[in-house]
Amino acid sequence: MADQDIQEADQPLLIANSLSKSYGRIAACRDVSFALYPGEVLAIVGESGSGKSTLLQMLSGQLAASDGQVSYRMRDGVTRDLASLGEAERRLLFRTDWGFVHQDPAQGLRMAVSAGANVGERLMAVGWNHYSRIRESASDWLTRVEIDVARIDDAPRTYSGGMRQRLQIARNLVTGPRLVFMDEPTGGLDVSVQARLLDLLRNLVAELHLAVVIVTHDLAVARLLSHRVMVMKGGRVVETGLTDQVLDDPREPYTQLLVSSILPP
């Protein structure tokens, strides 16, 4: 069993192979390759326009690559090219084994239906039909993301920004995904709210052994959450490595500029 776990952990979950995307003559993303392992958190950092969001969309199958491919090791252990999946398979993957946390919670939530329904909906999509069990699981997840269960029947439009973001996380994690994509998850929040969310994310990621690809322009977020970091500029990966190595001993001119541009607290 333990040996099997080790073997499992030794196989990549997500593989990007020479991914490129161009819009006419503009190359938004050029020749990006990496392998992500179970439980590993990879931060993609860079300024706006560096191609990090384009890359995230390609990795999560929302944007077709101009060149290269993305493969994913499915729950049955078979690694498949995402482009070869049928629409139904891809949707199932998105609803079960993957999560996607948007910067703006309104993009990841249904703002007019209750918090409980927002969480329960993902369970119903994978075949849960027992109302009280769905509600139980939804309350459990609200508690785990530190939302008062008394607010379960309220719609997220009555929630604060921080609560909405935590609800979006609960909605994503309820189906027990192995891989979660995050696009600037702390982007629109106040600093104090950010700290709480980061702490929560850090614990959940470790506890659930999640693999995460997180796009952020905030190096402090990358340092706190990620094991590895990829620095992007002009659509290319300019530097990659262990997060503390890249941030404490940056080699490339652009990374040195990024690191030295942080204001001391």
Binding site: Y37, E40, A195, R196, L198, D199, R202, A206, L224, H227, R228, G241, L242, D244, Q245, D248, D249, R251, E252, P253, Q256, L257, S260
Partner: protein, 232 residues
């Protein structure tokens, strides 16, 4: 006997691209070994590269040349060329680092800051907290502070929390960067005792210590870093 740490001809230069590409040589030809149960203290004036060497052994700074051999689960891994995943595995199972300052996550209670490395290593939360409590007791952190995050503690208290966190695991290699810098005599003595216990357990240690008395008490051997000074 097989060395736990075997550094051969390691070198490090910073290239400052924002300052017109100035090359800042830090160390070169770093060569020494550390055996199990041995504490090697790095000596040399400030700026000689002691902390840089410690960071190279932890894989925090990259080496430009040479090799950092680490005995990890019965095999030797060269951290100078290891993949990030291997470096993380080595840190999880083999090398601990007690930095000078605590880099605490907001909101996390002191007892959990200290217990975290054990929990990450698979110990149950209750057992990990019990051991964290013992260490905090020994380091004279009053129990009423354990539930608070250490961010508001004094410098000396934070350092003791950091030491507790560094000493709690049973890792076979420990790197200590001025572990007694802001401690009073009583707490310095506790750290000296903790180091002695680690030696008896066969832990290999590399330390930077400015306090002569503490250095004298914990060092089995002193490696003079000035001999690795990179010619400017």
């Amino acid at each position: 006997m097989t060395a736990m740490i075997d550094i051969a001809d390691a070198g490090k230069t910073f290239t400052m691209h924002l300052q017109g590409g100035i090359e800042l040589p830090v160390v070169r030809g770093v060569t020494f070994q550390v055996q199990p149960g041995e504490c090697v203290v790095l000596s040399g004036p400030s700026g000689a590269g002691k902390s840089s060497i410690l960071k190279m052994i932890f894989g925090n700074y990259r080496c430009d040349s040479g090799r950092i051999g680490i005995r990890h689960r019965g095999e030797v891994i060269d951290l100078a060329t290891a993949e990030p995943r291997q470096v993380l595995n080595v840190r999880r199972a083999t090398i601990g680092y007690v930095s000078q300052f605590l880099r605490a996550v907001p909101r996390v209670a002191t007892i959990d800051v200290v217990a975290e490395p054990l929990i990450a290593g698979g110990v149950t939360r209750a057992d990990a907290q019990a051991r964290a409590g013992e260490l905090l007791h020994r380091l004279n952190i009053p129990e009423r502070l354990w539930r608070l995050p250490p961010a508001t503690f004094s410098g000396g208290e934070q350092q003791r929390v950091n030491i507790a966190r560094g000493f709690i695991s049973d890792l076979p290699i420990l790197l200590l960067d001025e572990p007694t810098a802001s401690l009073d005599a009583a707490n310095r003595a506790v750290v000296v005792a903790l180091v002695a216990e680690k030696k008896r357990q066969g832990v290999a240690m590399v330390a930077i210590v400015h306090d002569d008395e503490v250095r004298h008490l914990i060092a089995d051997r002193i490696v003079d870093v000035t001999s690795f000074a990179a010619a400017a």
